[in-house]
Subunit: 217 residues, 2 copies
């Protein structure tokens, strides 16, 4: 099957070693940022914030969070060009959604007189919200949707990446508590360019057979 889409997805792999001398261009960081912003989410809730660690200082702070867990991932913190902290709001509220609707009105998508009707669609989020206001499982799902989008974007840009569920979440959330401002950070993403020593760059991709994962009826 000849397809540039499949070529990109087959090109992508999880980088295990980065070249610290290669940096993602400012233009590509701008594309990645805008692509994150454009990600889809349930009821357009956008219950997320993406913290891009670009400065040596910020990357060093991330490196410092690897103290006892997942030490194999520690070198990525400083060798990758950038790290993105994927964070989601564990208590997404009707006020947060109202801000989304206000932006919709500003963008000419919703008429001002329809605001109440639009805000009432928060009832969908309510289905996933505990009485305490906790709805982290729902907002986390949206965050992973953005994560899947950006992995595809990076493949198109021929930028290497490493999904990092292997982070010390507690330490990351403590170190970046000011930037996270109450949001949760279950996963990060190292991005950059692999170095010659990366054994994983040369290994074949492996996935379960098509007939196992896709059933057509």
């Amino acid at each position: 099957m000849n397809s540039p889409i499949l070529d990109d997805l087959n090109w992508r792999y999880t980088t295990k070693s980065y070249d610290p001398n290669k940096t993602i261009s400012t233009e590509n960081i701008a594309i990645i940022s805008e692509a994150l912003r454009l990600s889809a989410s349930s009821i357009n809730s956008q219950p997320w914030r993406f913290i891009i660690l670009e400065s040596d200082d910020a990357k060093q702070r991330f490196s410092n969070t690897f103290e006892t867990k997942f030490l194999a991932n520690k070198p990525h913190a400083t060798n990758a060009s950038h790290i993105i902290l994927f964070t989601h709001n564990p208590h997404y509220s009707i006020e947060d959604f109202e801000a989304v609707i206000d932006k919709n009105i500003l963008d000419g998508r919703i008429k001002p007189e329809k605001k109440d009707d639009a805000v009432s669609k928060f009832s969908f989020a309510d289905l996933y919200t505990e009485p305490s206001g906790y709805n982290a499982n729902w907002t986390k799902a949206q965050l992973y949707l953005a994560f899947g989008n950006i992995l595809h974007v990076l493949a198109r840009l021929k930028i290497d990446s490493t999904p990092l569920e292997g982070i010390d979440v507690k330490r990351v959330e403590k170190e970046f508590s000011q930037e996270l401002d109450g949001f949760s950070c279950p996963v990060a993403l190292a991005i950059g360019y692999h170095d010659e020593a990366d054994f994983n760059a040369r290994l074949p991709k492996s996935r379960m057979p098509l007939e196992t994962v896709v059933h057509k009826i």
Copy 2:
């Protein structure tokens, strides 16, 4: 910013009304299937199965699940070209992971003598697994990663889509219990081509401002 990636993401929108006479080509369904298969997942776990409803009978069965909830989505069931049920394993086990490793060995990615070492990486999944074996929150996150990937793929193929968290999960899981075989189905995706009546095709996209969702430090 001039970028085909951003053009695709800006092109994408949530379709509200499908043209029942337009069908996705067999070739594109094959690309979508393979793109789903190639999605990334934590420790390459692939804890998913994608059920593509293509026949009139299968789509009608899906339509029948809209009895009392989310009736606005019911027309998509039969008017969209295809529906994809996104399903994940709520009890992903070390045996499931062993099957992945066996496929890795078959694909020449892992040497047979390294099998035990490779299977031991299931310890990462254990971190998200309750004593009962329940790890649905973790496997659901991976499923949404595949979901985000495929939304991007569809935008590249210029195929319209509608993410459907608005389904009656209980009825869907009952109606398709044989196909799901114990897997959970939190979300579906309608895909096809919008019709002229789709008001949403003409509305501008709206997202929160870049400075709100992306912070660079």
